[in-house]
């Protein structure tokens, strides 16, 4: 083509080559002798065991540079540097920390093109994307978080930074993911050890240089490069207080397992198989462009890529036709060419994965279509690919391909669209196309995903939280909710370990134990409470419940896995609770308080046998108050409306988690139960609670309260039994969305470890004693924040 004459060019009107000149970036690489060490404590350190690996340009296969392979010693040095830097960093005023973040944003902008070219060289993404999407978003993220650094003390009173944070990021948006990790961590007052992906370490190292250029104190940001083993070392390092990970669901699982036995805070942003739903009243041409931005951005190597196209049957043929026409105009080629749409796949292993999944899809009988595009003769390229006649059973509909491959299927009704959209283990993002605002918002609300874009796709902004439901992970990045991932309440960090305080309490209560009145009345049988009914335990066994003095107080049903199964099914059936109006939910909680107060005396008297009269009285009194507290919150803990750049609103909705298991604390049978269950129920969750092992008989009093308070059947279920057994069943249950566990360190560790099946969120007392009677940890936002997850619905507007 370059040899054609001007006349030929005039007639053909082809685009011709338009390469971005990489010279300045290559010079920068040469200045570093194409060899990069770890960035620890503000200085470059050669790897302890002297090993390096190669970073290659996927477009050409050429080596770009040698990069240090981090081992245990390197990670240890980095964590130590971060630890040493922590106190001085936190001693700076918020304003001074804000200045550093602001300076980083400026520095990124000053060197934007070098960073963009470097990103494209290392990753293979088109220069248009790194130039127009990645790098501007990086700068925006630092600006935004400079703001949080300034405001953190006012806006998050009572919270403090986690400490040293270990961060592991993927190769698809290397510098952007770095920004998503480092900016909030620093804004909150943490110090950081970050491990960039093995395939794409270079922009992180360039960023390290920027840190020094702005004078960031040494050790606040440390970069250790390497492969998965380096990441492992960081994850298990005892000096790390929090792990933030973005990457595959499999690695996410491994990290959850590896950190289960520690008190490390964890946020995971994992895979996706996001639905792209097109209704018959959509602007189809625009929906096609949405797909281009959705599945052909970054070669489809995007966790939130709209990889499952769901088309209403009536427009499926037209849309497919338009889509194919558009695909035929995509340009696959050199990432540095400014007119390239689809660049190179990051690495041979990723290309093989795409090829093998496509082959599997073909073997399963789905129709594969690829346009006849000129493809580069060498390099790691894959053409845009459309599969039609895909069924939910197909590997193409289920597995994340992480490539430019779209799987299309059809639906008949809005209800079926939502059902298909949710027919996945993931829940990261979704895109909904319709010109009817009612329909679009209804479907957006129905899809289980952390982000829903209406008539748009792949829009990001630092102010809008991003993160998933289900196996797409937990925790959010961006917005206030993203900041919370890097903060913890001061009181929680100071709470004593349960073991020590339980001993103390036991000693105190022992002396004051009340004596049970000899029972002359009718036998009182406490049962399980499932689906609004009192039912006998499946096991047919009961267990004794004794006072601290050893007096038999009664017998509680001994719950087993089938009771839990039944209770979870009942809770799932009651999920309409989430869409019950908040006013209604509040009313029911108030009503429960009212009924609890009617029975206060009797309940307190019975409870006194287990915990002493004083505590029993306090539990009942505060329990009533606690119900009031969360009834009050029910219609006030509301979402926010973001105004990201451009003509959009992004509605950050607080949505219920779904079905939540609760292992109640032992030491406050009534108040502990209500302190955990009330916020969950106020938030619209349905609950399967395991009452205090010390006094499970409280269930008998509670279900009488709930039965008389219009609590719909299945919203609150109670299964008494051994927490260790029941927590295991709940943790392993794939239809439980979250598990709150209050118990010993070992119990908490077990629930975290076993939660990996469906990667349910776990929230535990970390084996600490929580004071439900007084102080900042008794009730409040901290609980509600864990009872909801934020869904951001982006709605563009304008006619």
């Amino acid at each position: 083509m370059p040899n054609t004459t001007l006349a030929e060019k005039f007639h053909a009107l082809d685009y011709g080559p338009a390469p971005e000149d990489p010279a300045a970036t290559l010079t920068w690489l040469d200045e570093h002798k194409r060899r990069f060490r770890h960035f620890i404590g503000g200085r470059w350190h050669a790897p302890a065991d002297g090993k390096y690996f190669e970073s290659r340009d996927p477009a050409t296969g050429e080596k770009i540079a040698d990069v240090a392979q981090g081992g245990l010693k390197d990670v240890d040095a980095a964590v130590k540097a971060a630890r040493a830097a922590l106190r001085p960093w936190q001693a700076l005023s918020p304003h001074l920390r804000a200045r550093f973040l602001y300076a980083l944003a400026r520095q990124v902008q000053k060197h934007s093109r070098r960073l963009a070219v470097l990103e494209t060289l290392d990753n293979g993404k088109p220069i248009r994307e790194s130039r127009d999407i990645d790098i501007p978003l990086v700068a925006r993220h630092f600006y935004y978080h400079a703001g949080w650094a300034q405001l953190v003390a006012q806006e998050f009173p009572g919270y403090q930074a986690c400490g040293v944070v270990g961060q592991i990021i993927p190769w698809n948006f290397p510098l952007l993911m770095l920004a998503w990790k480092i900016a909030p961590a620093l804004a909150a007052g943490n110090t950081v050890v970050l491990k960039p992906a093995e395939f794409t370490p270079l922009t992180a190292l360039a960023f390290a240089e920027l840190c020094n250029e702005v004078g960031l104190p040494p050790g606040v940001v440390n970069i250790v490069t390497g492969d998965g083993t380096t990441g492992d070392a960081l994850v298990v390092h005892p000096g790390v207080n929090k792990i933030a990970f973005t990457g595959s669901t499999e690695v996410g699982r491994a990290i959850r397992r590896a950190t289960a036995d520690s008190h490390k805070k964890l946020s995971l942003e994992l895979g996706g198989k996001s639905p792209f739903v097109v209704f018959e009243d959509a602007d189809l041409d625009s929906a096609v462009e949405g797909l281009v931005d959705g599945i052909w951005l970054n070669q489809g190597q995007v966790c939130c890529a709209g990889s499952r196209l769901l088309m209403q049957e009536s427009i499926a043929e037209r849309l497919t036709h338009k889509l194919k026409a558009r695909m035929a105009k995509l340009r696959v080629g050199a990432p540095l060419d400014k007119a390239t749409d689809i660049g190179a796949i990051v690495a041979p292993v990723q290309l093989q994965r795409i090829q093998s999944l496509v082959a599997q899809g073909v073997a399963e009988g789905a129709a594969c279509w690829q346009p006849q595009l000129p493809m580069p003769a060498q390099g790691l390229y894959y053409p845009p690919t459309l599969f039609t006649h895909v069924h939910p059973t197909s590997v193409l509909a289920q597995q994340e391909i992480f490539g430019p491959v779209l799987a299309a299927m059809t639906f008949r009704t809005p209800g079926e669209a939502v059902e298909l959209a949710n027919n996945t283990v993931y829940g990261l993002a979704a895109s909904v196309w319709s010109e009817s605002i009612n329909l679009a918002l209804q479907v957006a609300a129905g899809i289980k995903a952390g982000v829903v874009w209406v008539n748009s796709t792949n829009l990001f902004d630092a102010a809008c939280g991003f993160g998933g439901y289900r196996e797409s992970g937990f925790g959010r990045e961006g917005g206030g909710e993203g900041m919370r991932e890097y903060l913890e309440p001061v009181w929680f960090r100071k709470a004593p370990s349960l073991r020590a305080s339980a001993m103390k309490r036991r000693g105190r209560a022992e002396g004051k134990d009340a004596t049970p009145t000899p029972s002359a009345g009718i036998d009182r049988t406490v049962k399980q409470y499932i689906g609004g009914k009192q039912v006998r335990p499946d096991s047919g066994y009961s267990f004794e419940c004794r006072s601290l003095k050893g007096v038999l107080l009664g017998e509680a049903p001994l719950g087993n896995r089938k009771d839990i199964r039944n209770a979870v099914e009942a809770a799932r059936r009651a999920e309409k609770w989430a869409t019950t109006s908040t006013h209604n939910r509040a009313q029911i909680l108030y009503y429960a308080a009212e009924n609890l107060s009617h029975k206060a005396k009797d309940i307190a008297a019975r409870l006194a046998l287990a915990v002493g009269a004083k505590q029993a009285a306090a539990e009942v009194k505060l329990g009533i108050e606690r119900l009031f507290t969360y009834a009050a919150w029910a219609d006030k803990f509301e979402g926010v409306v973001h105004s990201p750049p451009g003509r959009h609103i992004a509605m950050a909705m607080n949505e219920a988690l779904g079905t939540v298991g609760v292992i109640c604390p032992e030491h406050a049978p009534l108040l502990g139960f209500l302190s955990l269950v009330a916020p969950l129920v106020a938030a619209g969750n349905t609950v399967v609670a395991v009452p205090s092992e010390a006094y499970p008989l409280i269930a008998g009093d509670l279900y009488q309260v709930f039965d008389t308070s219009d609590v719909p059947a299945g919203v609150i279920n109670m299964v008494s039994g051994r927490p260790a057994d029941l927590a295991k069943v709940l943790a392993e249950h794939d239809d439980v969305d979250a598990l709150w566990c209050h118990g010993s360190h070992e119990l908490c560790a077990m629930t975290k470890r076993l939660s990996v099946g469906n990667l349910k969120q776990t929230w535990t007392n970390e084996g600490r004693e929580i004071d439900f009677f007084s102080g900042p940890g008794a009730a409040g936002r901290w609980y509600l924040e864990h009872a909801y997850q934020v869904k951001n619905i982006w709605v563009p507007y304008g006619e």
Partner: protein, 337 residues
């Protein structure tokens, strides 16, 4: 690598995209209100596409020269001012005949490439003058007609104006529609109006100005485009140049998509003419990119694409001069448009 593993399961695949390989004149079709009802234009999404359309594509070096030359050949060099005179029109025509200086042409080695503008666009009063000035070339003379720019004269007068312009020698007539028909969704009236204009054109090219700045919403633009095409428009044109907002890329995107829809449904090709506010060489490349991406090669000729502009020519000339000499150009060194 990559595609070797592919089996094309549904081959032979009906080939994709517009199956238009040559221009096919539009005789119009009966008004189909269903097509109008089906128009969906999501403004935000269209704006996003328009914004990235021009960042996804670029042309450099010799290709840019070729594209800029193409832009010249697709230009309706226009003067539509209250102070137009015969002499002003003659000057414009002279520029139309030789839009580039010999020096630039030599530098660029344009050789035998027929680089001249597609048409000169004037008020009715100057049609004859322009025809005489352009004798011996195949540069067309286009007249704005039908009570340009408001288009609110008596219907019979507007038709009469078309006929007189044709009689005076105009080969193309740019007509304006009654925007009120669009606001009132009086599609039948709009259809009949355009049909009548087309008939009055009697073989002259009928370019229908929608007044997109007045229509205000892209949805209106999309509907009006379809109705105008069903009524037989040879071209649809954005605006008069007299509205507060004229040719924008989102409007262009909406109209080109309507043209594509119409072509797919009828097999006929309708041309597109953005006009108003197009001043820079870069804009001409943007519009060509739009045509290439949304419609395809058949639309990249003056038969189906026109740029209504005047000062843009100077900017293109400056760019070409730079390409030829390597030195940035000064406007005063170029013959005035």
């Amino acid at each position: 690598m990559g595609r070797s593993v592919q089996a094309r399961r549904d081959a032979p695949e009906r080939s994709v995209g517009l199956q238009v390989t040559q221009a096919t004149p539009n005789a119009g079709v009966p008004l189909n209100l269903e097509w109008v009802d089906e128009v969906r234009v999501n403004t935000s999404a269209v704006e996003r596409r328009a914004a990235t359309l021009v960042t996804r594509r670029t042309v450099k070096k010799d290709w840019q020269i070729a594209w800029l030359l193409k832009a010249i050949t697709c230009m309706d060099l226009t003067t539509l001012s209250g102070d137009d005179t015969h002499e002003r029109v003659r000057r414009l025509c002279a520029k139309a005949r030789s839009p580039l200086t010999e020096e630039v042409k030599a530098h660029l080695k344009i050789g035998e490439l027929p680089v001249q503008v597609a048409a000169v666009c004037v008020y009715h009063l100057f049609v004859a003058t322009a025809r005489r000035a352009l004798e011996g070339t195949d540069i067309k003379v286009a007249a704005v007609s039908t009570g340009f720019p408001a288009g609110l004269n008596a219907f019979e007068e507007r038709l009469a104006e078309v006929r007189s312009s044709v009689a005076a020698g105009a080969q193309e007539i740019d007509v304006v529609v009654t925007r009120a028909h669009v606001f009132g969704a009086e599609w039948q009236r709009l259809y009949e109006e355009v049909r009548a204009f087309k008939a009055a054109c009697a073989g002259a090219h009928c370019k229908v100005i929608l007044g997109t700045g007045d229509l205000a919403t892209l949805r209106n633009v999309g509907r009006a485009s379809l109705v105008a095409m069903m009524a037989g428009a040879d071209f649809i044109k954005t605006s008069t140049g007299k509205e507060s907002v004229n040719a924008t890329l989102p409007v262009g995107l909406t109209m080109t998509r309507a043209i594509r829809e119409y072509a797919e449904r009828t097999g006929t090709t309708v041309g597109f003419k953005p006009a108003g506010g197009i001043r820079t060489a870069k804009q001409s490349l943007d519009w060509l990119t739009l045509m290439k991406e949304e419609l395809g090669p058949v639309w990249l000729t003056p038969h189906l694409f026109r740029l209504g502009a005047s000062s843009m020519l100077s900017d293109i000339e400056r760019q070409l001069s730079f390409h030829g000499s390597g030195r940035y150009a000064a406007a005063y060194r170029q013959p005035l448009v």
